[in-house]
């Protein structure tokens, strides 16, 4: 197993390099360059002096060197986790990310746990009650849930539950109330959770709808399989057949779904965090794009890619553990 992990990690390296190349390429292909933008329109006024300043700045940022050299230098800095400074916040980017990243990861983890905890039993239940009312009604509902646009849901939740116009049950923004610092631990925790309810709901509903449908489909296929008939022919009870046999096989593809859910949720965090003003990576990305804080944008893209890859690696390991047909020797 360790050789498998080591091999997968080694295979990840070219992909990581590729991510950095892609991010760097985007930043360089784009029209305009950081220096002109940082100089602003005022820099055009005195042509000769502007040219001098420009040259100096370019040398400062290393923009006068050929592109591969620039890339190598940037890569070297990135490897040391130095993404430069944020133009807006005037702080090293890596510090800002260290503050924001845990929040996004926590939100995603909570959502993941919720999704899997609810979807797995629900999917099994509707598959067992196939073609009955519960199954049909939930299929329709789940499909509609899956198609709901997340910003609409967020906006509606805020409008209807957070404001003076309708109900005022939840706070519309932020992770903690203003007075939270002064509270002892459990009330502080409760306050946090209260703030998290709506954002987590927005994170969860779509992945939950998708996963439940997949579990249901997998269970329906497996319940019709020959080995289930064999298990029943051995005299096993219905529940044992459903859980020990059919479900155990259905779980396998569900693990690989994590590979699709994770990037979707990371991407969705941009929208949801900006709606609810949750200070995570998504909101950081949003602010960075709006203010053209290029260092931050590139850092977020790179780190987002790294996070995704780690998640995929964990998913692959889990998949190899769950399915004995995949041996650790074979390359995936």
């Amino acid at each position: 197993m360790t050789t498998y992990i080591v091999r997968r990690l080694l295979l990840m390296i070219p992909t990581l390099l590729g991510i950095t190349i892609m991010v760097f390429a985007i930043s360089r292909i784009a029209p305009g360059d950081p220096v002109s933008l940082s100089m602003g329109p005022g820099g055009q006024l005195d042509a000769a002096r502007a040219a001098d300043v420009r040259k100096a700045r370019m040398a400062l940022y290393g923009l006068d060197k050929p592109i591969p050299v620039q890339y190598a230098k940037w890569l070297g800095r990135v490897a040391r986790l130095d993404f430069g400074d944020s133009i807006k916040h005037h702080r090293p980017v890596i510090d800002i990310i260290k503050e924001r990243l845990p929040i996004t990861i926590t939100l995603n983890l909570i959502a993941f746990v919720l999704i899997y905890t609810i979807s797995l039993p629900l999917g099994v239940l509707v598959a067992v009650k196939h073609k009955q009312f519960l199954d049909r009604a939930s299929s329709v509902l789940l499909f509609m849930l899956w198609s709901l646009p997340s910003m609409w849901v967020g906006q509606m939740l805020i409008g209807y539950f957070c404001g003076p116009t309708f109900k005022n049950w939840f706070p519309p923004a932020g992770l903690s109330s203003n007075y939270a610092e002064q509270l002892p631990f459990f009330p502080w925790l409760a306050d946090r959770l209260w703030h998290l309810v709506l954002p987590v709901t927005c994170f969860t509903y779509s992945g939950f709808a998708y996963l439940t449908k997949q579990v249901r489909a997998g269970m329906l296929d497996n319940l019709r399989a020959d080995y289930v008939r064999t298990a029943r022919a051995k005299g096993l009870s219905n529940w044992v057949v459903i859980f020990r046999h059919a479900f155990r096989n259905s779980v396998i593809p569900v693990i690989t779904i994590m590979a699709t859910l994770l990037p979707a949720m990371l991407g969705g965090s941009v929208i949801i965090e900006s709606i609810f003003s949750v200070p995570g990576m998504g909101l950081l990305a949003f602010e960075a794009v709006t203010t053209r804080d290029y260092n931050v944008v590139m850092a977020v893209a790179t780190i987002g890619g790294v996070l995704n890859l780690i998640g995929l690696l964990l998913g692959d390991i889990a998949y190899a553990i769950a399915d004995p047909r995949i041996s650790f020797e074979s390359s995936v």
């Binding site: 509609m144 198609s147 997340s150 509606m156 404001g163 979707a264 929208i271 053209r292």
Partner: protein
């Protein structure tokens, strides 16, 4: 029995017809197709449905037709494309009845090329000969002041770019059926014109991503070996960065325009199609008809696109429907965040973002109606995708 009737009996049903028949068995699928057709109609006829210029007005005794004179080349192109698409659909039906199957696809391609040629020629002519005329006359004021009379306005008599700061943020009422937004534009009118943006983003983005995905997937799947190894690494790199992150990264660096958005969504969404086609081509590569084509010495593009592709295209078609829904959603999300098309261009996502005003008021009509529009459009395309998948798969299972 004359020759035509005889041959109709022996032609049987084509793959597309079988899928279509299976598809229309579900009433929900038909409803979705109707909804999609309705959206198309709204998008095509938008200037006639919502316009602040009247169809006809009498000024000083003379009849003027301001709405028709104000139609832009864009609108004419849309009309032309719609007419040609309608003609093409009609021709497809006619081909099924009149033309023999073995030459049917060749005939169809020729018709498509001819029609596309007509369309392109027409578009170029229009762009050359119909310049944009700016007509900022306020016809309603004319009617009100009595200078103009006998005016017939469109059902929603507002222009999407027309602002009216006196009527900002009005809830739905008699004047503005769905209310107004933060600068006083009518919501219903912007919804109608916004359908053009949503649908065009959907189709163009999916078109781009499908073409790229099919091309890459075909090469990887057909050649295999080292080409596949390197190619899959590249595909993995594309898939490694979460799509939305990648999109906003690109959006951060490039100027904002509708075309850019379409292209960006297109070039970031091709990985799924590539994987589907690659898997199909792996399967098809060893089949006898492919080996026969290779042994005949047919050129590579013929083998890939004339022989293998029609057999492997089913999952791409299914994915295309989901892709349209996804592209519409992404465009709305981008516009919602402020990274998409800029006002006054009407985008459903942008309207959605105005739902909570700067003062914290909840303007429910700006949240509900654009949201419903996005929701129903996405829902319809998702349902069509699911139904297509069901129509294609069980049929294959039965046959196997």
């Amino acid at each position: 029995m004359n020759k035509q009737q005889e041959s109709k009996v022996s032609w049987g049903v084509s793959y597309g017809e079988m899928v279509f028949r299976e598809f229309v068995k579900g009433w929900l699928n038909v409803v979705c197709m109707v909804l999609i057709a309705f959206l198309f109609a709204v998008a095509i006829l938008a200037p006639f449905l919502a316009n602040d210029k009247p169809f006809v007005i009498r000024i000083d005794g003379r009849l003027y037709f301001p709405l028709f004179q104000d139609l832009r080349p864009n609108d004419y192109c849309v009309f032309l494309a719609a007419i040609i698409a309608g003609v093409q659909l009609f021709l497809v039906r006619r081909n099924r009845r009149r033309v023999e199957p073995s030459i049917r696809s060749a005939v169809l391609w020729r018709q498509i090329w001819v029609n596309t040629g007509i369309l392109l020629a027409g578009v170029i002519l229009l762009l050359i000969f119909i310049p944009r005329r700016l007509d900022a006359t306020d016809y309603k004021a004319m009617v009100a002041s009595g200078k103009g009379s006998g005016a017939i306005f469109a059902p929603v008599p507002y222009g999407y770019a027309r602002t009216d700061l006196k009527m900002r943020e009005q809830p739905p009422g008699r004047e503005h059926w769905l209310g107004t937004d933060d600068v006083g534009s009518d919501v219903l009118c912007r919804l109608i014109h916004g359908s053009r943006i949503s649908l065009s983003v959907g189709f163009v983005a999916v078109g781009i991503s499908s073409i790229i995905g099919i091309a890459i997937g075909a090469i990887l799947g057909y050649f295999g070996g080292r080409v596949d190894f390197v190619g899959m690494r590249i595909v993995e790199i594309m898939m490694a960065i979460p799509t939305f992150f990648l999109i906003i990264t690109i959006v951060a660096f490039f100027p904002r325009s509708l075309l850019n958005i379409m292209i960006i969504i297109g070039i970031t969404s091709w990985t799924d199609d590539a994987r589907f086609i690659r898997a199909e081509f792996f399967k098809l590569r060893n089949q006898d008809f492919v080996q026969a084509a290779v042994s005949l010495g047919l050129p590579l593009r013929s083998i890939l696109f004339r022989h293998m592709l029609p057999n492997g295209i089913a999952p791409v078609l299914v994915n295309a429907s989901f892709g349209i829904a996804g592209a519409i959603f992404i465009e709305a999300a981008l516009s919602f965040l402020g990274f998409g098309v800029a006002p006054p261009a009407p985008s459903w996502g942008q309207m959605l973002s105005l739902g909570v005003s700067t003062t914290g008021r909840f303007l429910w009509w700006l949240t509900l109606f654009p949201g419903l529009a996005i929701f129903f459009t996405v829902l319809a395309y998702n349902l069509v995708g699911e139904a297509l998948r069901d129509a294609i798969d069980p049929r294959l299972r039965k046959a196997a």
